[in-house]
């Protein structure tokens, strides 16, 4: 066990020594991997922020039911009792037309317009919270509600939630596609770097084999080299994404404030960061494995 650990320790040290022996090359490798990883990692960060933004705004979808303008209060009361009997409606909030008028008048921009009208333009209305918030279920319910007598208009305000959802879905797909493509790129980078390493250390590989080294012993430092490349590249990507987040925080916050929302752009969380580093290290390792399979037997 200790011998096994010592051999792995030796392999890691050797890999580090090789990285350090050509510092400029190593830095450029890390930069290449880091930039490649920063794109999907940055996308993921923006997505996580968008999700949290969507979460903080009231995303509970409602259905608004508007009575005809000439329907009297008795009709409205009857509709209200019918709505309350339904099991698929959780809560019914009645908005009397007078109240709506008063609320609209409170808006200074609208007051003049409303006062110029002869009669109250607003109908009695209900705001419904539903039991089943899935868009299809709400759509079905809305169709039924439109059949009620003296109901003029039924409006689903889940539309924007669906739009946001669709946008986030698109974002997720984009990040995924970008991630897959650039992961393949990272494997390719690691592959060719390890190939050059194998060429550089051809004598050492040959001599080790002649002295009784197993394939595992010979491969180990190269695998750790690939792993360290990936890990280092992951750290570079993490730094790039973190720096971009801090840099974008003020301007993006300003933009979002114009939509009456607040957003403080967050750098990647612990879980996302750990995932990024593990993923990067794994890809570097994988590139090294494939490369060794291609190049070691020949030497």
């Amino acid at each position: 066990m200790t011998a096994w650990l010592a051999q792995h320790g030796d392999a890691v040290r050797l890999a580090m020594r090789r990285l350090a022996s050509a510092p400029v090359n190593s830095l450029l490798y890390l930069l290449a991997i880091g930039v490649a990883l920063a794109l999907p990692a940055g996308g993921q960060m923006l997505l996580a922020n968008a999700l949290s933004l969507a979460g903080t705004t009231s995303a509970v979808p409602h259905i608004s039911v508007f009575m005809a303008a000439n329907a009297d209060r008795g009709m409205a009361a009857e509709i209200e009792s019918r709505l309350k009997k339904r099991g698929d409606i959780k809560r019914v909030q009645f908005l009397p037309r007078e109240e709506t008028l008063a609320r609209m008048k409170a808006n200074p921009g609208l007051r003049d317009v409303i006062e110029a009208l002869a009669a109250n333009p607003f109908p009695d209305a209900f705001v419904l919270a539903v039991a089943d918030e899935r868009p299809e279920a709400m759509e079905r319910l809305a169709v039924e509600l439109r059949q009620l007598p003296r109901v003029e208009h039924v409006q689903l305000d889940s539309a924007w939630v669906r739009r946001l959802d669709a946008l986030l879905q698109l974002g997720r797909t984009a990040v995924l596609v970008l991630g897959v493509l650039l992961s393949a790129g990272l494997i390719a980078i690691s592959f060719s770097i390890i190939r050059m390493q194998v060429l550089t250390h051809r004598t050492e590989i040959e001599v080790s084999g002649l002295l009784g080294a197993t394939d595992g012993f010979i491969r180990r430092p190269f695998l750790y080299y690939g792993l360290l490349l990936g890990l280092g590249g992951g750290i570079v990507a993490w730094l790039l994404v973190g720096a971009a987040a801090l840099w974008l925080r003020a301007p993006l916050g300003e933009l979002v404030r114009l939509y009456d929302l607040t957003l403080v752009l967050q750098t990647p969380g612990t879980r996302d960061s750990a995932l990024l580093l593990a993923f990067a290290a794994g890809l570097g390792w994988l590139g090294a494995i494939i490369s060794l399979q291609q190049h070691l037997r020949k030497s």
Binding site: A3, W4, Q7, E206, V207, S208, L211, G212, A213
Partner: protein, 215 residues
């Protein structure tokens, strides 16, 4: 220790490096393989360490037919054999100590004990003061002695050396020959491919000519 049973080695497209070779080397024996350049001396040594595989016959090392060994079994055969290569094959980016340490790292030897063994091996070949030196800083004779230290640090029962005294001046060659004799005296079986046979008086000689063993 070593037995060749009607061994032949043919390289494509049909060059016979060795043909129908049979001989035995007993334990603790010192044997020279001599012959002109291209007679098959190096090939013979390579067959023993399974660096090359015979195309006919059996090569037995310690009772084991090494020409039939699986690739995965080769490392464990080579760990039992010390090898000094014709071109030495030292690692030029590692110092003398690290070069000698390599076989012990490969076998996973405990580190502290390994360091002691490395120093003992360097001491035996007279390089204990040069352990930090890179191979380029060593003279030809010192490089050869370093290669020998690396071959013996694992304390093998069998030592193979391919032209260990070539390119050395007479004094240095005699010095290197003396080191081999010392190892043989402490019980190591030694097989040396050389055409400087007079450096090893008293050793049995296998004479190769055009891939055939002369009687």
């Amino acid at each position: 220790m070593i037995r060749f049973d009607r061994v032949s080695k043919r390289y494509p497209p049909g060059v016979d490096a060795l043909s129908d070779i049979s001989f035995e080397v007993a334990e603790r024996e010192m044997v020279l393989v001599s012959g002109h350049s291209g007679a098959g001396k190096s090939t013979l040594l390579k067959l023993i360490a399974a660096v090359e595989k015979s195309t006919g016959g059996a090569v037995l090392v310690g009772g084991q037919n090494v020409s039939g060994l699986a690739r995965a079994a080769l490392p464990y055969l080579r760990r039992r054999i010390g090898m000094v290569f014709q071109d030495q094959k030292l690692l030029f980016d590692r110092n003398a100590f690290e070069n000698v340490m390599l076989p012990l790292s490969i076998t996973g030897f405990p580190r502290r004990e390994a360091a002691q063994r490395v120093r003992a091996a360097l001491d035996k070949v007279g390089l204990s003061s040069r352990e930090k030196a890179l191979p380029v800083m060593l003279s030809g004779g010192e490089q050869q002695r370093l290669a020998i230290a690396r071959a013996v640090v694992g304390r093998p029962k069998l030592l193979l050396a391919d032209e260990p005294t070539a390119h050395l001046d007479a004094d240095t060659a005699a010095d290197v020959a003396r080191i081999f004799k010392e190892f043989n005296h402490v019980g190591v079986t030694v097989l040396i491919a050389t055409y400087a046979g007079d450096l090893f008086p008293g050793a049995r000689r296998l004479q190769l000519e055009h891939g055939k063993l002369l009687p």
